[in-house]
């Protein structure tokens, strides 16, 4: 997964939070209120578009969606398999 992909996620978050200038790799996106439950489905759809597949969301794996590092290393890096449905 290219660095430009995670930068698209970062840019998307920054555009929604004009008062914020930087987001750390391990900053909790929910605790820091960069995203809340009402915005979350929009983030998930963006991630699915970038990953090129549907992403399964469970109480167990949701932690990976809460930081940019988790999104880069665990959400977007995962190859399509049992927990994902390819768009193709």
């Amino acid at each position: 997964m290219g660095a430009d992909v995670i930068e698209q996620v970062r840019s998307w978050l920054l555009a929604r939070n004009p008062e914020v200038s930087a987001i750390g790799w391990d900053e909790d996106l929910i605790d820091s209120r960069l995203i809340d439950s009402l915005d979350f489905p929009q983030l998930l759809l963006l991630l699915e578009e970038l990953a090129g597949r549907e992403l399964e969301l469970t109480p167990e794996n949701v932690v990976a969606f809460r930081t940019l590092r988790g999104i880069r290393d665990r959400v977007l890096a995962a190859s399509p398999g049992a927990d994902a449905v390819s768009h193709e």
């Binding site: 439950s37 489905p41 969301l57 469970t58 109480p59 768009h87």
Partner: protein, 293 residues
């Protein structure tokens, strides 16, 4: 607080629910299959309605889209019902909910039935239920009175949106009789839930209003207007577009959501509940007006 009016309404709703009780499991004659090439949803309720795509896409594609948007609509119902079943079950026969608990029994029974027949429809004719996109562990509201109000306000917004679609589709002669019937049967129960929902939302908001906490009221106003917007966004599902054979589904969704022609449709979907929430001074106005400016 005088609750005479609420008690009278509850008694009437419980009696009506008893009079119109039915088994969801035997209520419908499920056909073996529904042909893809037909209108599964009222064309004016599709997310492309009013946009150039409604004019430019081939009718076959629009019909296929109507199939997958109807599966998406019923899938959203399933996920919405799951939340309300959990939240109402959490509150039935607890302190503060003594009055509506008898009604809650009817409500939970009816909603369980609705969830079953919506799932039947999705699985029989779509082969799947679109997954829930909401955050599995939402941030908990620590103030119990605020949490109670928000739960029933969310349920009311959701039910009013769904009911608008059910009323339109329940009487749309373009649609297959089974599709009309599923929508009509849901509406026949849902009006009771909406009447009760309005009473409860009014009742639960009153103590919050009496606190005189302006910051709290502004927070609730903003949250509910954002919740209405999020509800309308959930109708635009890229997977449904892909299933209908529409390329570049995510960009297609973004384009539709930005299209000014859609604002009037969104206003219509939520007209009743926005009017109610504004009249109660719970929200300050329509979230869609801001989208235009």
């Amino acid at each position: 607080m005088d609750t005479t009016d609420v008690v009278e309404t509850l008694d009437k709703l419980v009696a009506d629910s008893t009079d119109h009780h039915y088994s969801p499991y035997t209520r419908f004659d499920w056909v073996d299959e529904l042909a893809e090439e037909q209108w599964w949803m009222t064309p004016d309720l599709l997310t492309v309605a009013g946009t150039r795509h409604a004019r430019e896409l081939d009718e076959k594609v629009l019909m296929r889209l109507s199939k997958w948007e109807s599966v998406n609509f019923f899938s959203l119902n399933i996920h919405g019902i799951r939340e309300l079943l959990i939240e109402v079950t959490r509150r039935i026969h607890t302190r503060g909910f003594e009055l509506p608990s008898e009604f809650f029994h009817r409500f939970l029974g009816e909603e369980n039935g609705h969830m079953w027949f919506f799932a039947q429809f999705c699985l029989r004719y779509g082969g799947k239920i679109y997954p829930d996109k909401s955050l599995p562990v939402a941030t908990a509201e620590e103030d119990a009175a605020v949490a109670n109000f928000l739960v029933f306000a969310r349920i009311l917004v959701f039910e009013e949106l769904v009911d608008h679609f059910n009323i339109r589709m329940g009487r749309d002669a373009l649609l297959h009789p089974l599709i009309r019937e599923v929508n009509q049967v849901h509406h026949d129960d849902e009006w009771r839930h909406i009447i009760m929902g309005r009473k409860l939302v009014g009742l639960l908001y009153e103590p919050l209003r009496e606190r005189g906490d302006r910051e709290l009221r502004e927070r609730l106003d903003l949250y509910l207007r954002r919740y209405i917007t999020a509800s309308v966004q959930s109708l635009y599902n890229p997977t449904a577009y892909r299933d209908a054979g529409i390329p570049e589904a995510f960009a297609f969704r973004e384009e539709l959501l930005r299209d000014p022609a859609r604002v009037a449709h969104h206003e219509t979907f939520f007209k009743r509940v926005i009017r109610f929430l504004v009249s109660q001074e719970i929200i300050t106005g329509s979230p869609f007006r801001e989208a235009v400016t």
